[in-house]
């Protein structure tokens, strides 16, 4: 009997081996897609752009002699009526199997974001196990996603990487734009009390020139990509762009800011001193006062004076205190600006609604129907800023011309 079982098992094993491996994917058969872009064309169809990595042009291997100076990425476009179809049509052009597991960037054209909104599109990405939910989402501002993805970038060979790193460091150092990934975006979309905010990138210079490899042969490339605005959404559709101080104000309230520089006027000189924020803490505290919703925003900032363009005695703590007041005023302005704009657009991008939901669930039931259109614009907001100047860099007073 033992022998028979042995034979049976052998048969099973042979069957398994003979039939081949179903889920096997050889590395050389994969087209590693680093970024994907979606646009809407005139007919209302989706146009997808796939940025595929050419590994041999990226990695400096020791074999194969001097690697051919080809572009590190190749871009393919295709048109179709839904996401899956459009990508499958792309496979007619790709020499390999599409592999999305390393797609770290998703670009949505501005037109698509305005007309259709992003809600429906994101479903295909959520459902597919190959996609990473940690992929970064950006909007192509004033351009098509395909144009954005075709631009060659210096320093970082793969443009998708450049955009992602760009976003990450500007979030840290300037604070106007921040990183949103798919998971966050979907979370926001499905929460009644918060609207989505997505950073926008635009192409400066001619997209045609940007496609060419010569673009990066210059020390000063003609065409570059940069973060230029913060896209404000309402009910999944893009409605407006925040830029400059408004964008930074949003960053303050959403507690996305890490370091940034705030210039304020001193002694009647505009932008005389620059205060560099090192750390900040923002709390949005919802309260119901007399049956009406009320939010208190408390900001605590710490930083150093990093540029002094006019004489001032920084060794005197009282001077510093006065400066702190100025800083607080500046910050408060920015915050109020952002709040104004958001209210004007009738969309609660700060998540105040959700805060009410969490703390006052019963009242929220009544508030939530018209939150974005009515309640939010009426929301009473108190902004309190506390700024501290800790240090002044390596010098105390400014150099004085003699």
């Amino acid at each position: 009997m033992k022998r028979n079982y042995l034979i049976l098992t052998l048969h099973l094993i042979l069957c398994l081996l003979l039939a081949g491996c179903w889920s096997k994917k050889e590395l050389t058969d994969l087209a590693i897609i680093s970024a994907m872009g979606l646009d809407l064309n005139a007919k209302g169809e989706y146009v997808s752009t796939l940025q595929v990595i050419n590994p041999s042009n990226v990695a400096g291997g020791l074999q194969g002699g001097g690697g051919s100076k080809g572009p590190p990425v190749t871009v393919y476009t295709a048109t179709g009526s839904n996401i899956i179809e459009v990508n499958q049509i792309a496979s007619t052009k790709l020499p390999r199997r599409r592999y999305y597991a390393h797609t770290n960037l998703l670009v949505i054209g501005e037109e698509l974001a305005r007309k259709e909104g992003i809600g429906n599109i994101l479903d295909a990405f959520e459902r597919n196990p190959e996609f990473r939910m940690t992929a970064v989402l950006i909007i192509a501002q004033g351009a098509k996603a395909s144009d954005l993805l075709k631009v060659m970038t210096p320093v970082d060979k793969i443009p998708a990487n450049k955009i992602i790193k760009n976003l990450r460091f500007t979030e840290e150092q300037w604070g106007e734009f921040f990183t949103i990934n798919l998971q966050n975006a979907i979370k926001d979309l499905t929460t009644t009390g918060k609207s989505t905010v997505i950073t926008g990138f635009s192409v400066s210079g001619s997209p045609e020139q940007g496609k060419k490899l010569e673009n990066i042969q210059d020390s000063d490339p003609e065409t570059t990509i940069g973060a230029t605005g913060l896209g404000i959404f309402k009910e999944g559709k893009l409605i407006s762009w925040f830029e400059g101080k408004t964008a930074r104000g949003t960053g303050w309230i959403l507690h996305k800011l890490k370091n940034t520089g705030i210039s304020f006027s001193w002694m009647d000189k505009e932008d005389a001193v620059v205060y560099q924020v090192i750390r900040e803490q923002t709390k949005s505290i919802p309260k119901i006062k007399k049956g009406k919703p009320h939010i208190t925003i408390e900001v605590k900032a710490e930083g150093n004076i990093m540029e002094l363009r006019m004489p001032a005695d920084l060794t005197d703590p009282l001077v510093l205190l006065k400066m702190e007041k100025e800083i607080e005023k500046s910050i408060q302005e920015e915050l109020l600006l952002a709040l104004e704009e958001a209210k004007k657009n009738k969309t609660d991008i700060f998540g105040f609604g959700e805060a009410f939901h969490q703390s006052y669930p019963k009242e929220w039931e009544k508030l939530k129907e018209e939150w974005h259109d009515v309640r939010f614009p009426e929301l009473a907001v108190d902004v309190k800023v506390d700024a501290y100047i800790r240090r002044t860099g390596l010098r105390n007073n400014a150099n004085e011309l003699q």
Binding site: W22, P129, T134, T190
Partner: protein, 380 residues
């Protein structure tokens, strides 16, 4: 019954691995939304009570397993019918869990592989393990318990370092009130996974030190309950209630969100490891209970020969019980949790316990009467 001896610590490990098995991977109690963790904790309490029912039955018949003392309590014919029912129940449960596992693996890792292959591989390993006996299973459990906990703690630490926790997502507390929570407890968490501990009623007689069963069992259920509640709470904090309730496998989505230092990404393989381990033990224990019950019922002399055919039967069952994953889940919610589980896990054992108490009380009475008749006083 085989000649095996398990220690109390091994029982604890087996209970823990069994309870965590598949429950940590599927969205249990998600109808309670943000209070899912609370529903789990309450279910755990219920589970401990059920465990005491099984334990008390064991104390009445320390050398017999569930299907054996069933015959003694309700009579031979009814007992045999019930035993057969339990065999089917155990086999069906094993097939269900196996199907769960296969679907999970196919959904995100091996999309093109047929379900048959994936399930067959696991069944072959389980057959190998069961043939070696419960002692080997227990020892393997001890080894993998350590591995599983190391993985869990590492995952937890990584989650903390990614800064993905947002405890505010757990608010508002009890948004929908106690009603929903209790309903979920009564219809779901009590049975899956805590009530399923009935399989251990087939294993209690193997313990070396029967006094320690109580503490091993209670601590096992306690620890697993806390773990499950914690996992659900983590899922909701990281994903938000919407994503967590829409995900087929919320823990997988949580693990996929980990992104540290640009190279620790997409750690779903760790998820796969814990899944295989957990499901392996769950299916093995159900399978073992089924084989054990069959051996006793049909008085088979060589149980090891029974293992192969039953394994194949469970394999085929797992493939044929449902056409699609949604059907499988729906079947679980409608048929299993509403009818099968309450019947087999709660009603029958409680009735059995009642009968056992009556019999015992009757016996005591008899012995007391007998003592009175013979004029020898006995301390009852």
């Amino acid at each position: 019954m085989e000649k095996a001896k398990i220690g109390a610590y091994q029982l604890f490990v087996l209970i823990l691995l069994f309870e965590l098995g598949s429950a940590v991977l599927v969205p249990i109690a998600i109808e309670a939304k943000r209070d899912a963790w609370l529903a789990i904790l309450l279910g755990m309490v219920g589970g401990i009570l059920l465990f005491f029912v099984y334990y008390r039955l064991y104390r009445f018949y320390p050398k017999l397993v569930l299907t054996e003392y069933m015959e003694k309590l309700v009579g031979k014919i009814l007992g045999k019918i019930l035993s057969f029912g339990y065999i089917l129940f155990f086999a069906y449960s094993a097939a269900r869990v196996l199907r769960d596992f296969g679907e999970m693996l196919l959904t995100y890792a091996y999309v093109n592989t047929p379900l048959f292959i994936v399930n067959t591989l696991l069944i072959l390993v389980i057959i190998y393990a069961i043939q070696k006996g419960i002692e080997v299973l227990a020892r393997t459990g001890e080894l993998f318990f350590i591995l599983l906990y190391l993985l869990a703690i590492t995952g937890f630490l990584l989650l903390i370092f990614s800064g993905l926790f947002d405890l505010k997502q757990l608010k508002p507390f009890l948004e929908d009130g106690w009603g929903v929570v209790l309903k979920v407890v009564a219809s779901q968490t009590l049975y899956v996974p805590f009530g399923e501990a009935i399989v251990f009623a087939m294993i209690f007689p193997y313990l070396k030190d029967s006094k320690k069963i109580k503490i091993a069992g209670v601590s096992g259920i306690l620890l697993s309950g806390i773990n499950l509640a914690l996992v659900m709470a983590i899922n909701i904090s990281v994903l938000g209630i919407d994503l967590a309730s829409r995900s087929q496998f919320p823990l997988l989505s949580t693990v996929q969100s980990i992104q540290i230092a640009e190279f620790l990404e997409r750690l779903d393989v760790f998820f796969m490891v814990s899944m295989v381990i957990g499901i392996f033990f769950k299916v093995s224990l159900y399978f073992y209970a089924a084989v054990s019950a069959t051996t006793i019922l049909f008085k088979i002399k060589e149980p090891s020969k029974l293992v192969y055919p039953m394994g194949l039967a469970i394999l085929f069952m797992s493939i044929t019980i449902a056409n699609s994953y949604s059907e499988h889940i729906k079947e679980g919610l409608v048929v299993t949790t509403r009818f099968l589980h309450p019947f087999f896990l709660v009603v029958i054992p409680v009735i059995l316990l009642g009968i056992a108490y009556l019999k015992n009380w009757g016996k005591k009475r008899k012995s007391q009467n007998g003592a009175k008749n013979t004029s020898v006083s006995q301390k009852g």
